[in-house]
């Protein structure tokens, strides 16, 4: 059985505002029968003040779908249309003291029904959105197959590490490694067929890791030219947006057992700041930011802000950053988050 919070249970067993609203003047209907949930949100909006005076719902769905719908009505009654527009699915989940990752789509459905109802009230047209994103692959961070596939295609990812770096999938308990490998291999295979990547770049399921190519001479600054932003095939997912104008993950040259220092400290700082710039969209995508504070010997000090500060995932994401910098500089560095002084 799912681990529902007490508040989810309370709003499921004793839902507020369930049923039809006779004098509704804005109705939003969303859902998909095939995925087993549908929501009809009915609003009574005061045309003078644009205040939502009453709201009711009818939901076909599981316990958390019903609880999310009910929570949505509680959140918007008394709010103005403009205030309601700002409501996110996370607000619904927070109101319920959280939802299991597999159930976050219930909160998304609530937010979408609200968008549809507001559009009905204001007369705007609504773009079709399909929130089904395929099977949930990474349960730790709630990343589904659709999102991963888009990230692989948009950014031409060919290694598991990069998939984890861009989507977080596989960055937690790592138990989704097998389906993740399969998805990467399948997507790469299709990309080879479409001419998007070369056959020898494609990830092959179950293949032994490729030997690290030793660089012949000298050091090459990674080509940091951002790739032209590939238009995502579908609208960005509501929950976790992908970095839209993503940089091409240029294969970072790997320096092994070569001269420890290749650059002057000033040149190193330039390389490091370029790498941080390149990775910034990944941090931005999660609602946070990263900036370089200082470099001291083997320490690269960065400042994390927004959603990234205090996030348990930060250490994971920083690990990726550390690896890139280490590879680029050809010497071991440690990336440490610090407070801004």
């Amino acid at each position: 059985m799912w681990e529902y919070s007490d508040k989810v249970k309370e709003y499921f067993f004793n839902p507020r505002n369930a049923g039809a609203l006779a004098d509704a003047n804005a109705v939003g209907e969303v859902g998909s029968l095939s995925c087993g949930d549908a929501l009809k949100l009915m609003l009574k909006v005061n045309p003078e003040t644009n205040i939502i005076e009453d709201a009711k719902f009818q939901t076909f769905g599981c316990g958390s779908a019903i609880a999310s719908s009910s929570a949505l009505t509680e959140l918007i009654i008394g709010k103005s249309i403009d205030e309601a527009r700002k409501l996110t699915n996370q607000d619904i989940a927070d109101f319920l003291d959280g939802l299991p990752p597999e159930k976050m789509h219930c909160s998304v459905m609530g937010q979408e029904a609200l968008t549809a109802a507001v559009a009905a009230y204001t007369g705007e047209t609504l773009e079709d959105d399909d929130h089904e994103e395929g099977a949930l692959i990474c349960k730790c961070f709630g990343v589904d197959a659709g999102m991963i596939e888009r990230a692989i295609r948009t950014n031409k990812l060919t290694t598991l590490e990069m998939v984890t770096f861009y989507t977080k999938a596989g960055g937690g308990c790592n138990s989704c490694r097998e389906p993740l490998e399969e998805l990467l291999a399948d997507t790469n295979k299709a990309m080879v067929a479409e001419g998007l990547i070369a056959a020898d770049e494609a990830y092959v399921f179950g293949a032994a890791p490729k030997p690290v190519k030793k660089k012949a001479t000298g050091f090459v600054i990674p080509d940091l030219k951002p790739a032209p932003a590939a238009a995502p095939a579908a609208p960005a997912p509501v929950q976790i947006a992908m970095p839209a104008p993503a940089p091409a993950p240029a294969p970072a040259p790997v320096a092994v057992a070569e001269a420890p220092t290749k650059y002057s400290p000033a040149k190193e700082a330039i390389v490091v700041s370029k790498i941080i710039e390149e990775m910034r969209p990944v941090f931005n995508a999660d609602g946070g930011d990263v900036e370089l504070v200082d470099m001291e010997g083997s320490l690269v000090l960065v400042h994390l802000s927004g959603a990234c500060s205090g996030c348990q995932l930060a250490s994971h994401t920083l690990g990726g950053l550390q690896k890139k910098i280490t590879e680029a500089l050809g010497r071991m560095v440690r990336v440490m988050p610090v407070a801004k002084t």
Binding site: M1, F13, G36, K40, F60
Partner: protein, 400 residues
């Protein structure tokens, strides 16, 4: 209020007699059956007795046709992998669309990564196998045919004996996943063409973590687990003696009371179905009405979703299960109900009640008392259900 447990296809209560028989083998007769000393010998004797009891339950001709495993899943994996190895030159498998994941997921893997051709035979709306499609798929390229004896979700029984004969006509091996059938249906393997059969102890009041693979004498075989000489070298690893001994007792008890248990469960199941169909409306029983397990009833309640029903049932002290998407973590409803072409509105609201020999009339009365109210309360919240309650409302989502 005593809880009502109607999820016996998921697992059953271990009978106290079974536990009593197991307990001495943890702390007193704890020896390794392979050991030469008295500790081992005592266990060896008890294991032989348990093997005989299981032999009787499934009507095997010889007791050495039984290989103890860790459960139904291991037995299924062993049977399929073994068949592919001993049938060199044949690389096709025939199975059905409604098998348990312990079969389907392995077949998906073999198809994708090991070059095996998999034929998945469809079923009709009652969940009955499409025999014509099966015949058409049979050829001398087929290494193994694997059909379940009884379906875990609907209880529909496949005519495995006849299906096995057809497999042998093209020289293919025949395996059946009988996890839901053993202990509930009379089985007499020596009179059939079945080469391999998987079973699981905890589905008939034995302990979890134990199963068996029946392997007809003379059937070529390759072990999944290699190591020691246990199970005549066909499944290495120290015997799980307490569990095997528990399974033996559970097998004896199932065989001893099967006829009366079956009659009682059928009467209670029919009472449950009749009562719900009469009082609830807009619901129907899935599966083959003529050939079903005595204990299984899956009822599809239209216009509402299964997990919501289960949560409310649980609150009322009733344990059941659902093939609905929301309880399994996927977005799709049960593959079994979809293969049966049950509409999405109903497939999402399918609830499985599975009885055991311990189910009482009071249990069924309690369900009949509680369910109509639960269904009505959820339908009132459903956008597919109109206020009048008689007909589904017209609901057009902005996208679908």
């Amino acid at each position: 209020m005593t809880p009502v447990y109607l999820d016996n296809n998921a697992t059953t209560r271990v009978f106290p007699e079974v536990v009593d028989a197991m307990l001495p083998y943890f702390t007193e007769q704890f020896g390794n059956a392979s050991s030469i000393h008295a500790f081992g010998a005592e266990v060896g004797g008890a294991l032989r007795k348990a093997r005989k009891s299981l032999q009787a339950l499934i009507g095997a001709e010889f007791d050495h046709e039984i290989i103890f495993t860790s459960g139904g899943t291991e037995s299924n994996n062993t049977a399929i992998r073994s068949a592919l190895q001993v049938m060199q030159g044949r690389n096709e498998i025939i199975t059905s669309m409604v098998e348990h994941p312990a079969i389907l997921s392995l077949c998906d893997w073999l198809e994708k990564h090991e070059g095996v051709v998999v034929h998945r035979i469809p079923v009709d709306k009652q969940g009955r196998l499409d025999i014509d499609a099966y015949r058409a798929a049979l050829s001398e390229k087929v290494a193994l045919v694997s059909f379940m004896w009884a379906n875990n979700e609907t209880g529909t029984v496949f005519p495995v004996d006849g299906l096995a004969e057809l497999a042998h006509e093209v020289g293919a091996l025949f395996h059946t996943d009988a996890v839901q059938a053993v202990g509930k249906l009379p089985i007499d393997l020596k009179t059939t063409d079945i080469d391999m059969l998987s079973l699981s102890s905890h589905k008939f009041h034995g302990p979890k973590g134990l199963g068996a693979l029946y392997l007809r004498k003379g059937t070529r075989f390759r072990p999944l687990l290699r190591g020691g000489h246990q199970e005549r070298g066909r499944r290495a690893g120290t015997e799980n003696a307490p569990a095997i001994i528990g399974l033996g007792v559970a097998a004896e008890m199932a065989l001893g009371s099967m006829a009366e248990d079956t009659a009682r469960m059928i009467a209670l199941r029919d009472k449950l179905e009749k009562g719900l169909l009469e009082t609830v409306g807009h619901c129907f029983v899935t599966g083959d009405p003529l050939d079903r397990l005595p204990n299984t009833s899956t009822i599809a309640f239209e216009y509402i979703e299964g997990e919501a029903i289960l949560l409310k049932l649980n609150q009322a002290g009733i344990a059941a299960s659902s093939g609905s998407a929301c309880t399994s973590g996927s977005l799709e409803p049960s593959h079994v109900l979809r293969a049966m072409d049950i509409p999405f509105t109903a497939a999402h609201g399918a609830i499985r009640f599975s009885l055991s020999s311990e189910t009482t009339e009071a249990d069924i009365d309690r369900v009949l008392e509680v369910v109509p109210g639960i269904i009505a309360s959820l339908r009132q919240m459903s956008p597919f259900w109109s206020e009048e309650g008689a007909q589904p409302g017209g609901f057009t989502p902005a996208y679908a």
